[in-house]
Amino acid sequence: MDKTTIICRCEEISCEEVEEVISNGGRTFDDVKRITRCGMGPCQAKICTSMVAEIIHQQTGLSPSEIPLPRMRMPLSPIKLETLATNSTSFSTVKSVLDEVELEEGKVR
């Protein structure tokens, strides 16, 4: 890998950008992700994980077993929003900001 090698194809993040995060104190894939967007694209870090781990290993000397894996999240592979929706219009955990405005004796608190 040289400085211009593309590590994250989805977000076009180069080796140099990943190295900069490590030199500023980042140590994990998720640190690199938040600063550079490496791994935030459609593939969700399926391609770049091991290359980022390799760079972290080279720069910090941490052994691969000490480098945590990125946090994988649902839905793992992109799916349409309508697949997740159930078309219910009753909400409990999800709030409306306006519902949180409380009136006291007909006035806003």
Partner: protein
């Protein structure tokens, strides 16, 4: 590494880094920021990052948020592009019966200088053509917007470092002692000493306070968010519930759960969030979701920020709050004033830790 500092900030998230940066503008003494991991690994890195004012209550709290939102354009000139956009904020409602409440809100906030309009269905659809045509109306204010939280904290850190602030990351504080008028801090990477100590531990504020025998009543409140693939720009405003980022992805979600530090995402809340998103913007139905994530809000017991001097402890300060993204420029400015000038330009007495008795 230097072990003696004038001021140490515990916590390098949006609040701690915001304070460190603002201090570094006016203050040439040594400042060190300690973070148990890397900044953004907690709340500051898992947020929709609205800069939100217009329907926070009560009015004095909305006013406090407004002052901070007003600082954003200036902040981005100083620290660099943080993708701050004052889009204006829309809070839609779907029942005509909510209009009266919306009008009361607008009326009472006009007095403090926050202009809120109550929009008709037609006005909402003119502003935001992709909004569900079944919408009844919305409250609207031009003061609201959003920011890229990763850019914001990265730029705070870079600007602070340029001004001489030091960061020690992956360095958990394990013990704090007060000796000979100084604070002595034991961390994973050694001991540090300082005159002023600022506690900006966010969701971990309670544990940090305990080290000094100070009760900082901050609880955890989880929120779950869905992220879409990048879509062509089609949403104009920050809608309370979803927003479109600069790269085109849409962030959706506004949920609250007491789940401690558990950062799992759960199917029931993901589904409710999807229902909210398609109700607000039906065109999102076919958009692909690439990720769900969750973040833990730092929620003080009564819902309001805890700011300022810690009563009974000389040179000890606390800044613990939710809405850290919205409030960080103001909190950074005020804590800096408190340390450098001894008083703040706007009163913060009502945010004192002393209110919890």
């Amino acid at each position: 590494m230097e072990t003696n500092y004038e001021t140490i900030v515990i916590g390098g998230g949006v609040v701690g880094s915001g304070i460190a940066y603002h201090l570094s503008e006016r203050y040439k003494e040594g400042v060190l920021v300690l973070d148990k991991k890397y900044p953004m690994s907690g709340t500051s890195g898992s947020t929709q990052a609205w800069v939100w004012v217009h329907n926070k209550t009560p009015s004095w709290y909305a006013e406090f948020n407004m002052y901070s939102a007003e600082l954003y354009p200036y902040l981005s000139k100083k620290i660099g592009d943080v993708e701050y956009k004052r889009t204006g904020g829309l809070s839609p409602f779907f029942n005509e019966s909510d209009r009266e409440k919306a009008q009361k809100l607008a009326e009472s906030y006009r007095k403090i200088g926050i202009k809120i309009k109550v929009l008709s269905r037609e006005e909402v659809l003119e502003k935001e053509p992709y909004m569900n045509p079944e919408v009844a109306g919305a409250t609207y204010s031009s003061i609201d917007g959003n920011v890229n939280p990763f850019r914001l904290i990265d730029m705070y850190m870079r600007a602070a470092k340029r001004n001489g602030v030091q960061y020690s990351t992956y360095n958990k504080v394990t013990e704090i002692k007060k000796q000979d008028g100084k604070y002595s801090i034991i961390s994973d990477k050694g001991a540090f000493e300082c005159k002023n100590l600022i506690l900006a531990g966010g969701t971990w504020s309670r544990e940090i306070g305990d080290m000094l025998g100070v009760k900082i009543p901050v609880n955890q409140l989880r929120g779950q968010i869905l992220v879409s693939e990048p879509l062509k720009p089609f949403l104009n405003f920050t809608i309370s519930g979803l927003r479109q980022a600069n790269n085109g992805e849409v962030l959706m979600g506004y949920s609250m759960e007491e789940a401690g530090f558990n950062r799992a995402t759960t199917l029931d809340v993901i589904q409710e969030t999807a229902n909210m998103a398609v109700r607000y913007v039906p065109g999102l139905r076919k958009a692909k979701i690439v990720r769900a994530f969750s973040g833990i809000r730092a929620m003080p017991e009564d819902g309001f920020p805890i700011l300022g001097k810690v009563p009974g402890h000389e040179n000890l300060y606390v800044a613990a709050t939710h809405s850290g993204v919205t409030l960080s420029p103001l909190i950074g400015t005020l804590i800096t004033e408190l340390i450098v000038d001894g008083e703040t330009s706007i009163p913060i007495d009502r945010y004192s830790l002393s209110r919890f008795g």
